[in-house]
């Protein structure tokens, strides 16, 4: 017993020493899951002699909640989506930088410099952008899939085999598109119709899940599922016979952005890392892994052929697209009620 305690105590001391030994030159990331290859982190760590740690979250709202609950000040960088950049900016969670601090700032594609959620890019740089719609298993349903009805009013073959993203923002936005009503509408009849639509559709859904969105399609637990385009490409690569849809009613586009957090413990390294990510070769490495699209000039020579030609990444021109909007409080409250009612 005594020896056991002694051994335990020395193991503890050793491990504490081990964690303290490498305390110099750190970078702390808060990132989406399955979105950055370990090799890119390792490359940065080796080039700049910085120890990189990363935590993951699975929705923009989870990121916001964790920072609000007291995690602000622990992370240097996070990767929120477009509307969340705006919210975090309003909440005072972001630090600003000067473009001159990054030698690669000029690599940002022109269309992504002056964006509505961060005009002039004072706190953020573009990371990857993509779309959110859904994928359908073609073995199960061979018909036309280019409509959001696949999810909200599914054909017989897909009923009871649909996975829906477990975030109210994306699900309710796609539902609004299906109904042809504006996002964040405060019109009561439209909100009631939205509530009814999801209530009616729910019996046809098998599960709610964001982080499992790919796995359920690969394993066959779901025959159709709301999913992000890059995730869908991966599912297809892993052997699922699925097709990603660009529905005629419209679909969501989003852009994830690397933001500099307020009270970042390692601001210098954070700037270095942002600059590193604006290097076309590194941005391309992320794109090759996550299979979304970089917002950086000059990535094409570094892209894999499979990524360049992936159907998920090459939407037909002229499709209807929209960013998810950050709704005002009164509307958000109704959205929350709709969501809770849906899952009660």
């Amino acid at each position: 017993m005594k020896n056991m305690l002694k051994t335990g105590a020395s193991a503890l001391a050793l491990s504490l020493l081990a964690t303290m030994a490498s305390a110099e030159g750190k970078l702390s990331l808060y990132h989406w899951f399955e979105y950055i290859p370990q090799e890119v982190l390792d490359k940065f760590a080796a080039e700049y002699d910085v120890e990189v740690t990363m935590d993951t979250y699975d929705s923009n709202e989870a990121l916001l909640a964790a920072l609000k609950a007291g995690k602000l000040g622990q992370y240097d960088l996070a990767v929120p989506g477009d509307y969340m950049v705006e919210i975090m900016g309003k909440e005072g969670m972001l630090d600003t930088f000067d473009p001159s601090e990054m030698s690669n700032f000029g690599n940002i594609q022109q269309e992504w410099v002056d964006v509505t959620f961060d005009p002039g890019r004072k706190s953020s740089i573009p990371y990857q952008w993509g779309s959110t719609s859904f994928a359908v298993n073609r073995d199960v349903y061979p018909g036309d899939i280019q409509t959001l009805g696949m999810i909200f009013n599914p054909p017989e073959e897909l009923k009871g085999k649909i996975n829906v993203l477990d975030t109210s923002g994306e699900t309710l936005t796609l539902a609004s598109m299906y109904l042809g009503i504006p996002q964040c509408t405060s019109d009561r009849d439209q909100l009631k119709a939205l509530n009814e639509l999801v209530q009616t559709a729910k019996p046809d859904w098998a599960s709610f899940g964001s982080d499992v969105a790919k796995d359920v399609l690969v394993s066959g637990d779901a025959a159709a599922g709301m999913i992000w385009n890059g995730f869908s490409a991966k599912a297809r690569e892993e052997g699922a016979n699925i097709e990603y849809a660009f529905p005629k009613e419209g679909y969501i586009v989003w852009m994830d952005n690397v933001v500099l957090l307020k009270d970042a413990p390692n601001r210098d390294n954070a700037i270095k890392f942002m600059n590193f990510l604006l290097e076309p070769e590194n941005a391309a490495a992320v794109t090759n892994y996550a299979q979304y699209t970089a917002g950086v000039k000059g990535v094409e020579p570094f892209l894999d052929e499979a990524v360049k030609s992936a159907p998920e990444l090459n939407p037909p021109s002229g499709g209807k697209t929209a960013f998810v909007q950050a709704c005002p409080e009164e509307v958000q409250k109704v959205y929350d009620t709709i969501w809770t009612n849906l899952k009660k």
């Binding site: 105590a9 504490l16 081990a18 990331l29 399955e34 935590d55 699975d58 609950a69 982080d211």
Partner: protein, 276 residues
């Protein structure tokens, strides 16, 4: 014991025990088999291979898992030592110190961590740490673990202490031993098996915890359960199965060790009021 054996036997109980064991082990057997799967996917069998074991030790995320394992073991060891010490003191107070003010409340307090649903503890502790300005990190995980380990250590220790008759300590005191000597030289050795089980129970409870740790852990600090959860979010790959199998191996090693430790403990004959 002269009881006729048939009085102990109930038809179907053995079958139900086997069913119980089957239910407990069937998923683990699957995990073990699929840890040797050569395929990228966990749903499609791609031949036998050790590649995922290689991935666990030498893959790109090997360092993360190694660090997580060290963190988990260090936190579990420290939390279990602290909880066992506190639980032993509390058990002595509850069972050997006669009546004192607040005894009933003390009993409730010790069992409170067991009774509060984990999710409530997790959220409350996170808010509390933010409110008093604690930065989440190793210390916050450790504190939270000590708190919920206490009842798990207390229960076996108190159960054992109830079984140890007080006459031995009283005899020692009659022979002019101080109370500290009576505790150290008589009660503590008699308590050893109880303390060991309390320690091990607290240890595995800490090692297993996901919900509370996930809320109170600091940035980038992973324990095994949180690292495994993060990895699951990277898509379930057979490397998770390999890690699970390794964990199972470690736990079986632990069990075997504690079994032999227990047998050595039994040899130092402990007088108890146990029925056999």
């Amino acid at each position: 014991m002269a009881a006729k054996p048939d009085l102990k036997r109930f038809p179907g109980f053995f079958a139900l025990t086997l069913l119980c064991l089957f239910l407990l082990y069937a998923p683990l057997v699957i995990v073990m088999i699929y840890s040797f799967n050569d395929s990228q996917s966990i749903t499609i069998w791609g031949g036998t291979s050790l590649r995922w074991y290689g991935d666990v030790f030498w893959g790109p995320e090997a360092d993360k898992f190694k660090q997580a394992a060290i963190n988990s073991l260090a936190i579990a060891t420290a939390a279990a030592i602290a909880a066992t010490t506190i639980a032993t003191m509390s058990a002595t107070a509850m069972l050997r110190a006669g009546h004192f003010r607040g005894k009933g409340a003390s009993f409730a307090l010790i069992n409170l961590p067991l009774m509060v649903p984990e999710i409530v503890t997790a959220v409350a502790t996170l808010i509390f740490f933010s409110a008093i300005g604690f930065t989440t990190g190793y210390a916050t995980i450790l504190i939270a673990h000590i708190v919920f380990c206490i009842p798990f250590a207390y229960l076996p220790i108190a159960a054992r202490m109830e079984g140890v008759e007080e006459v031995y300590e009283q005899a020692a005191q009659d022979l002019y031993a101080t109370r500290w000597e009576a505790f150290r030289l008589i009660l503590l050795p008699l308590m050893a098996p109880g303390i060991l089980s309390g320690f091990l129970l607290a240890f595995i409870i800490s090692l297993d915890d996901f919900i509370i740790t996930n809320f109170v852990k600091g940035a980038g600090i992973e324990t095994l359960p949180t690292a495994i959860f993060g990895a699951v979010k990277q898509g379930i790959k057979p490397n998770i199965m390999a890690i699970s199998t390794l964990l199972l191996g470690v736990s079986i090693l632990f069990v075997t060790l504690s079994y032999f430790a227990g047998r050595i403990g039994q040899k130092t004959k402990t007088p108890t009021g146990e029925t056999t």
